[in-house]
């Protein structure tokens, strides 16, 4: 029921939105999402705790497909995991809808924008609440579509339209993996429903899955479950922008800023993490797949952090930071610390949405300027934006007691404790770099002298209340959102881990052997993470606030490295050269100029020519145009048929 409110809003706004006055459009859009939030809250507080052991809230709307033994239902599942996701998605969506009212106030396609935004919220809720893989896939594709529509929302500009296309195409590659995985699951287990799948795995299907599938030479025979998990993970890397399919996310910043906040930071991109967490019972069967997930996550976390250091576009920095934080989440789910991954997903949704909305507020004030080199000194003009932005920055850096500390530290600690030492090191260095580039952003934007030109300077103003109110709420959430997961070490009860436990039961036996670490060790790692974050902050302060001439010198000193990072390791260029160009060339010269022109067109034209020149030479003589002779043929024909029919008499 929850996804239907926003979908309804989308339909109304899409069909008649253009005729409606703006107030109605945004009231409709915001209230439908808020309704979803209230319903989720009702289910979370009233229905879920009263549930008996082993029961779940499942609502089958109708049977969608029933072909042979394939039985897919349009069903929704509300358990602890979907509850967290539904609350985060609908809550953050609502705040961003409200923010958009202020941000988009002058846009000519106002109702279209809210229609897309509502459609997105509906699809995302469908994704997180779907009770089986096909429903999840519908939501998955739905959010992909909305993402495409919203990135290219200002499609008048070539660059933005192609950014949308890029996102869509890169996502298709991932979706291919997802689809293959769904097919394989159905092929081997004959089930698509999450609960039935889990039951099947618990009752002996695990052995089927652990069998070898096919031989790939010297690599040996991978287990079926490994292949399936890797295919799912391919889907996740596409949607959640991990290596090697992350390239679309930075370009996706071409869309309106609230969209970047909602889709490309807070909710949609976390779908991959959610999927891995949802399918935890499959992943625990395959250590190899977990290793890949955690490895890719760790490398992405470090890699994109190093790109973020040198970017000058305020949104690009945040985009790479998102990619990096998603890497952390994948490390979390990869090392089987599922609740830590989801916990980071939640806190990240708060602080990253806040960062983007803050950036949007800055861009709004700067008349659309996104280059940080032309900002500075905005602190005194925009106090609300500044303070909330600062809170989010501290949260992402992982300084206690802000939310990011609890979740990120949890992931780092679990990575070490579950004996993924290399990945821990990657993440640890990444955390330091994160602190550095985030404070670089803050210092360049809000501190120091204002470097904008005079005209822009006059327009700098604090944003309207509809924009600052969500900032303040998200600021509060970034501050306190982490307190639901205070670890036992700090005297908390880690409530979120307890809460999510029923969903992640499958991992418990695997993890039992890792629970022998002392408190001293844990304290050491807390100190290490906070230490490196503090070091990053200090360095940023030193370079960008205390000695503003230093960054240039530093860039000169490591020129090649600096260029490498500034140009994002030339990955786009490499993809162009190795994948895109060959395809374009093949399409152009072989498929179009040869195959299409010669084979396809040739066949069609050749058939025409054959009939025209050869077969019709004799027949066309009959067509004289003399009506009487036609009548004679006609009569002869009738007589022939009559004669044939009456012959036996």
């Amino acid at each position: 029921m929850i996804p239907f409110f926003p979908l309804l809003g989308a339909v109304i706004n899409g069909v008649v939105g253009r005729q409606l006055p703006r107030q109605i459009v945004h009231w409709l859009a915001c209230s439908t999402v808020f309704m979803s939030f209230l319903v989720s809250l009702y289910y979370a507080t009233c229905r879920l705790p009263g549930l008996e052991e082993g029961h779940v809230l499942k609502n089958t709307v109708f049977t969608w497909l029933a072909v042979g033994n394939l039985h897919a239902e349009a069903a929704f599942l509300f358990d602890h995991l979907s509850m967290v996701m539904a609350l985060v998605v609908s809550g953050v969506s609502f705040l961003i809808h409200v923010y958009s009212v202020g941000y988009m106030h002058g846009d000519p396609r106002y109702s279209t924008y809210f229609c897309y935004l509502n459609l997105f919220a509906g699809a995302m809720l469908m994704l997180v609440l779907g009770a089986n893989l096909p429903i999840m896939f519908i939501g998955w594709e739905g959010v992909g579509l909305c993402s495409y529509l919203l990135i290219g929302f200002w499609f008048e500009e070539e660059e933005k339209a192609s950014a949308g296309k890029k996102a869509f195409i890169v996502n298709r590659i991932g979706d291919f993996g997802f689809l293959v995985a769904i097919f394989s699951v159905f092929y081997f287990l004959g089930e698509l429903d999450f609960i039935s799948l889990r039951v099947a795995v618990e009752h002996g299907a695990a052995d089927t899955l652990k069998a070898g599938w096919f031989d790939i030479g010297s690599f040996g025979t991978p287990m079926i479950v490994t292949v399936i998990c890797l295919c799912f993970f391919l889907g996740a890397t596409g949607k959640s922008a991990q290596l090697p399919l992350y390239v679309w996310l930075p370009d996706a910043m071409a869309g309106p800023t609230p969209v970047s906040a909602l889709i490309h930071a807070a909710t949609m991109v976390t779908a991959g993490v959610y999927m891995v967490a949802r399918l935890n019972f499959l992943y625990v069967l395959s250590p190899a797949a977990c290793m890949v997930v955690a490895g890719v996550g760790g490398i992405t976390a470090l890699y994109s952090a190093t790109i973020a250091i040198t970017q000058n576009d305020i949104k690009k920095v945040l985009a790479y930071s998102t990619v990096s934080q998603l890497g952390y989440m994948f490390v979390g789910v990869g090392v089987m610390a599922y609740s830590a991954g989801i916990f980071h997903l939640m806190t990240h949704a708060f602080f990253k949405a806040l960062l983007f909305l803050g950036a949007g507020s800055v861009i709004h004030a700067m008349s659309g300027e996104m280059d940080m080199r032309k900002m500075g000194g905005l602190k005194k003009y925009m106090p609300y934006t500044y303070w909330t932005f600062l809170i989010a920055t501290i949260a992402i850096c992982g300084i206690p007691p802000f939310s990011g500390f609890f979740s990120k530290d949890e992931i780092l600690w679990k990575a070490w404790a579950h004996e993924y030492r290399v990945i821990w090191a990657l993440c640890w260095v990444g955390a330091g770099i994160t602190a550095f580039y985030m404070f670089r952003l803050v210092f360049m934007t809000f501190h120091g002298e204002c470097r904008a030109d005079e005209e822009t300077k006059q327009h700098i103003h604090e944003s309207p209340a509809s924009m600052t109110a969500p900032l303040v709420i998200l600021g509060a959430l970034s501050l306190i959102g982490g307190w639901v997961g205070v670890p036992a070490l700090l005297g908390g009860a880690n409530r979120i881990e307890r809460f999510l436990e029923p969903v992640f039961e499958a991992a418990t036996p695997v993890l039992a052997k890792f629970s022998h670490h002392s408190h001293a060790q844990e304290w050491l790692f807390v100190a290490l993470s906070v230490g490196i974050a503090a070091a990053g902050i200090t360095l940023a302060w030193y370079m960008y606030s205390a000695k503003p001439e230093l960054p240039e010198k530093a860039a000169k000193a490591v020129q090649p490295l600096y260029n490498l990072s500034l140009n994002k390791y030339f990955v786009d260029e490499i993809y162009d050269a190795t994948v895109i160009n060959p395809i374009v060339k093949t399409s152009d010269f072989f498929l179009w100029r040869f195959f299409d022109v010669w084979i396809i067109d040739g066949t069609v034209n050749g058939m025409g020519r054959l009939f025209r020149d050869v077969l019709s030479q004799g027949l066309r003589r009959i067509q004289t145009g003399v009506v009487n002779s036609y009548a004679v043929y006609f009569l002869l024909g009738v007589l022939l048929i009559l004669g044939y029919m009456l012959w036996p008499f």
């Binding site: 066309r620 067509q623 004289t624 145009g625 003399v626 009506v627 009487n628 009548a631 004679v632 009569l635």
Partner: protein, 101 residues
């Protein structure tokens, strides 16, 4: 005194052949058109006669059907002939051989 069925059928046959020959031999579009009507009515006559003879109303119904279609066809056909005459100044079918390769 009843006229026997064979008389009707022979009359109908003669009318039909007259019409068919007219369609094939004449050059004036209006005459051809009238010959077609003649053939239709010859068939109608045969239908009525057989229907009466067998005591079956089906034939009558069928004749009404044919007359309706013939009326519609006459309207359309005459309209075409009139417009051909207006545009080309003739209704001689030898001179309006448009649908020719």
């Amino acid at each position: 005194m009843m006229v026997p069925l064979s008389h009707y059928l022979v009359l109908s046959g003669i009318l039909f052949v007259l019409g068919a020959v007219g369609v094939m031999a004449r050059r004036n579009a209006i005459v051809i058109f009238m010959c077609i009507e003649l053939m239709l009515n010859a068939v109608n006559l045969a239908l009525i006669a057989i229907s009466c003879n067998l005591g079956d109303m089906g034939g009558h119904v069928f004749v009404f059907m044919v007359m309706t279609v013939a009326a519609a066809e006459a309207a359309v056909g005459l309209a075409i002939i009139v417009s051909i005459y207006r545009s080309r100044g003739t209704v001689n079918v030898d001179e309006i051989r448009l649908l020719k390769w």
